[in-house]
Symmetry: C2
Subunit: 187 residues, 2 copies
């Protein structure tokens, strides 16, 4: 996927609403209302609108999504389409939809355990699952994490794929995680 | 800045070390060793190498960096240059350097307080400050957060800039934050 990740002036095809002081958030919101966002954004928004479940499959880069997927979030999930003020978290505009992160890692589970995560990915996934997906109204299914496929044997890799395939068979029966601050940090 | 955010095959100028099974991390590491990374990455690595303090100035997008800056981290902070295994966290290859996040937000401080952060940005900044910068060996100074400049008056905005300028005068005297899991989550 060669999606453009950079959020720029080029994303607004018409005149700017406030040309003297460019604000990407303000202009994207106005362009969404006037249907003057650039065509690649509109095409992605249409896919999201039609989906019941959005799966994000990515390799973990710096404990987050790679830039190309971050750019998808920055550009596609704009105000007016994905949220409004008010109109976020449980009232987010994409409510009624499910989302899931399916992640491959560079390091083994053991390495994440040692380096401060204590094996618990909630710490890293909070900005994505709560701050982004839940903010837009998605209910979030438990993340699917495949550790270090590059260091695994061919047989182990096949096992990872089989386990994901198995999970997908009954994914519609799954309950979402309680994707809220107390669940993440026990407040 | 029109930096390329996407980590792709194009970042390796020479032959691949494992062409039958492309892994960005593996190939970037090998290319770093052979000095065959693409020129925009090398130019940025040179800037980092010469810096005593790296300042990341950005608007908060989805509780993280915009994609263009995420791409800078994905591509510039490669294995061999910024870390190695072993050679991370306190032993990261960029140890001896300082880093600071200077952030502008879309929402007011009050909005972050309400939406689960309790006004505490440590929850969001953990993947960047600990998972990325500290991982590479940087000591991290306390983040500088300017809330909602777009909703502020001209006078308030001037105050934000003045306060940042004031801080910079004595920034060399500052002690880094204890950027470790217990500091973030009180484990």
């Amino acid at each position: 996927m060669d999606f453009e990740p950079r959020a720029t002036r080029k994303d607004i095809t018409g005149a700017l609403s406030r040309p003297e002081f460019f604000s990407y958030g303000v202009e994207a919101y106005e362009a969404w209302k006037k249907r003057s966002l650039t065509s690649d954004i509109i095409a992605e928004q249409k896919k999201v609108q039609e989906a019941d479940l959005v799966m994000f499959q990515f390799p973990l880069y710096w404990f987050s999504v790679p830039a190309v997927l971050k750019g998808w979030m920055d550009r596609v999930l704009c105000q007016g389409f994905a949220f409004d003020i008010p109109g976020f978290y449980d009232d987010g505009l994409l409510k009624g939809k499910l989302a899931i992160l399916s992640i491959t890692t560079g390091g083994t589970a053991d390495m994440y355990w040692k380096t401060g995560a204590n094996g618990d990915f909630r710490y890293f996934l909070w900005p994505l699952q709560h701050g982004t997906l839940h903010f837009c109204g998605f209910k979030v299914l438990a993340p699917h994490i495949s550790f270090a496929p590059e260091y695994a044997s061919e047989e182990e890799r096949k096992g990872m794929v089989a386990s994901w395939a198995q999970r997908l068979k009954t994914i519609w029966n799954e309950e979402p995680i309680p994707c809220s601050p107390p669940w993440y940090f026990g407040q």
